[in-house]
């Protein structure tokens, strides 16, 4: 299974994301933001970092890159896409996920291990978890506060589109403790915390993040 990982100027966690794909027994495929070439991948990961230096708004310029135009088209056709941290910001800016991410309410960059509650275990990226399960993975952001109008948030909750919520303290002031959301078809998922940094005991607080990458391999096989 070929899982593409996009590198934008300023991406930081593309190598870790590719490594997580490999540890889950997938084949990582490097994709370049400036190309119009998805290289026939079965799914795409948008990694964390500071694409274009967070200029304008975090993720705003990356969301308009040549490859992202192809990703948007392919996602509307069912291609699974995961956005992690800056990747989540890019997906919101590209209109593939609802809401927006803005400056943390306390204005500090927050870097810590974070408990999340899995609210949806039936998306393409979360089937190896169970609903209500708690997982521990790192969070690290300065602009991770998930926001939207109350009406939009009510609609999201009503449609069951919240995939993860922060547990044991909200690291950035996100509305309703929302850490991650999904598209209507459950194929596009974005979250601020970093599953790719929790795939080995040596380097992470747990191996709880591996489930994203094993889930997607099963979703691609069964598709």
């Amino acid at each position: 299974m070929r899982i593409g990982v996009i590198t934008f100027p300023g991406s930081l966690d593309d190598v870790d994301a590719a490594r997580a794909v490999r540890l889950a027994s997938g084949e990582p495929v490097a994709l370049w933001h400036g190309d119009h070439d998805l290289k026939d991948v079965d799914a795409v990961v948008l990694p964390g970092g500071f694409s274009y230096g967070d200029y304008l708004r975090a993720g705003a310029i990356a969301a308009r890159s040549p490859l992202m135009q192809d990703v948007v088209t392919a996602a509307h056709g069912g291609l699974p896409v995961l956005g992690i941290c800056n990747g989540f910001q890019v997906l919101c800016e590209a209109g593939l996920l609802p809401g927006a991410l803005t400056r943390n309410s306390h204005l500090h960059f927050r870097n810590r291990d974070q408990l999340l509650r899995v609210e949806r275990a039936d998306t393409a990226w979360t089937s190896d978890y169970s609903e209500g399960q708690q997982i521990l993975i790192p969070v690290k952001n300065g602009e991770g506060r998930y926001v939207g109008s109350d009406a939009d948030l009510d609609r999201l909750e009503g449609e069951g589109r919240v995939v993860f919520r922060y547990v044991g303290g909200n690291p950035n002031g996100s509305s309703r403790d929302i850490a991650g959301v999904t598209s209507e078809n459950g194929r596009v998922v974005g979250l601020m915390p970093h599953p790719e940094h929790a795939v080995e005991d040596l380097t992470g607080p747990s191996t709880d993040g591996l489930g994203f990458f094993t889930s997607i391999l099963k979703a691609v096989v069964s598709a």
């Binding site: 304008l56 708004r57 705003a60 308009r64 919101c92 800016e93 609802p98 809401g99 927006a100 803005t102 400056r103 943390n104 309410s105 306390h106 204005l107 926001v147 939207g148 109008s149 109350d150 939009d152 002031g173």
Partner: protein, 97 residues
């Protein structure tokens, strides 16, 4: 720092030599909290400026455009790239002269 109407024209809408200067102001919607503005307000309070009740921080874009600006195109630029309509309000200022 320009406080008079005559100064700071380079940041105002206008035309010069076939080039139009278009200004776009972007601010967070009222219902979206602005921690940066609140931090500025806190600093003002510590400096003794107790009369300032609220600060909202935004962005100010100055675009130089060839010829007469196409209002529809600039509206699209402002609303789809310069501002994120999920969280921000945008004001487009075209030259009037």
């Amino acid at each position: 720092m320009h406080s008079s109407a005559a100064a700071g024209k380079e940041n105002r809408p206008g035309t010069l030599g076939g080039v139009s200067r278009v200004v776009v102001d972007v601010v967070l919607k009222p219902e979206i909290s602005d921690p940066q503005g609140q931090a500025v307000l806190g600093a003002l309070g510590r400096l003794g400026h107790d009369s300032v009740r609220s600060v909202r921080q935004g962005k100010h874009f100055v675009l130089e455009v060839d010829g007469t600006p196409d209002e529809a195109e600039l509206k699209q630029i402002a609303e789809t790239l310069l501002a994120n309509p999920v969280i921000e309000d945008v004001e487009l200022h075209l030259p009037t002269d």
